[in-house]
Amino acid sequence: MKIMRTPRSLDLEITSRCNLRCQYCSHFTSEGDVEDDLPLAEWLAFFEELKRCAVIDVCLQGGEPFFREDFKELLQGVVRNRMRFSILTNGTLITDEMASFLASTGRCNAVQVSIDGSVPFTHDAFRGEGNFRRALNGLRCLLRHGLSATVRVTIHRKNVLDLEAVAKFLLEEVGLPSFSTNAASHFGLCRKNSEQVQLTVEERSLAMETLLKLSRKYPCRIEAQAGPLAEATGWIEMEQARCQDKDQLPNRGYLTACGGVMSKMAIRADGIMIPCAQLPHMELGRINRDDLGEVWRKNSEFNRLRDRVKIPLTAFDYCRTCDYANYCTGNCPALAHTMSHDAWCPSPEGCLKRFLEAGGWLPRSNMSSNK
């Protein structure tokens, strides 16, 4: 397998701290929830290594990136070392002055703000009172300064009936070109609060139907790489392949779900190198001690993760008799790990067979035929 000499991008958890405690936060209580943040000097030294490695961009995340008091100095280090950046944030700490600073760098790819509702009730239900208004203020500051501001809507039990209003609010009232969706998943705090937060099978089916309808109403303006919309699209394709008796879909039938490990990796807030922010237990090395390029190319665990794509789904008992095995990717390795403590197996959460067995249904208007 060919591997690039160095990663193209990195996800940097620049802090483990946050001003909020959202009930489905993937960070808190995970192995990435570390005691101490790296000091500025360590990050700045690491950015010089990223420049030598010709890394193109970094995604600053946390915790809450804007919670760092030295955020501007840190960002200046990114820019000085010829990189571009994006930021994942809850939006509540963004001021007009900070947005102006971000715009002045000329290197901002995007700032993604989490907004989960069209009204305070649905957003604040799991994020805390007053945070809808604060996040929206932050988003509007970004837009005022001409930054590429995006919104991620995390779908959960309290906003699943609000999705049409969310789309109208974000696309028509706020005027965003698009937004993306996912769902509260079995990471971090969500594991503890799963019953209150995570969609039931019925709610998941309903969310898929609603999101597909909204995608037709707002073409190319609602995106998803995970959650009900992504599942609906992927599962409908699988069901159609099954109905047409196709042998296999391209690049399916093996654990091919995530290509992230081929172009990027992540750094925990304590400087530990990990393959992905959602696989924080998998420690590969430490910044400013281990050579990034060596770890990237030679770490055996990292390469074993890349080799997941060689594992056929038929190697697993549950998949062997599944009608969808040749159309399936096995889904997110991080979800596989968090649910079954093994990243080298399919994720139960993204399994169509399990979903249907539990009483879930695919949006019928999108199916060309049933068999």
Binding site: K2, M4, R5, T6, R8, A54, I56, R82, M83, R84, G106, R107, N109
Partner: protein, 95 residues
């Protein structure tokens, strides 16, 4: 005054060598990336203000087989394209 015989690569750009000597030339200010073939990468690395276009062709012939007769024209065109995009320039000597 600019010495227009020895081009220099713009140091603000990133040359990302990825697979099999192919590379991406990335401009962090615009966010644009351009694919470079192994030959272009070789030429890019010689844009150091010390090599003329003739020197570069000579180096190419020393390091690659089957370099075409009209290579110098291609190199000149490539360098001029880089200069017009702001990816390369010439040293300006103090008067």
């Amino acid at each position: 005054m600019a010495d227009k015989t020895k081009p220099i690569a713009n140091a603000e750009l990133i040359l990302r060598e990825e697979f099999d000597d192919w590379a991406v030339l990335f401009d962090p200010d615009s966010g644009n990336g351009f694919g470079l073939s192994p030959t272009s990468v070789f030429v890019w690395k010689l844009l150091d203000g010390r090599h003329t276009e003739e020197d570069i062709v000579e180096e190419l012939r020393r390091n690659f087989d089957d370099v075409p007769e009209d290579a110098e024209g291609h190199i000149r065109e490539f360098v001029q394209d880089l200069v017009s995009r702001g990816f390369a320039g010439y040293e300006i000597k103090a008067l």
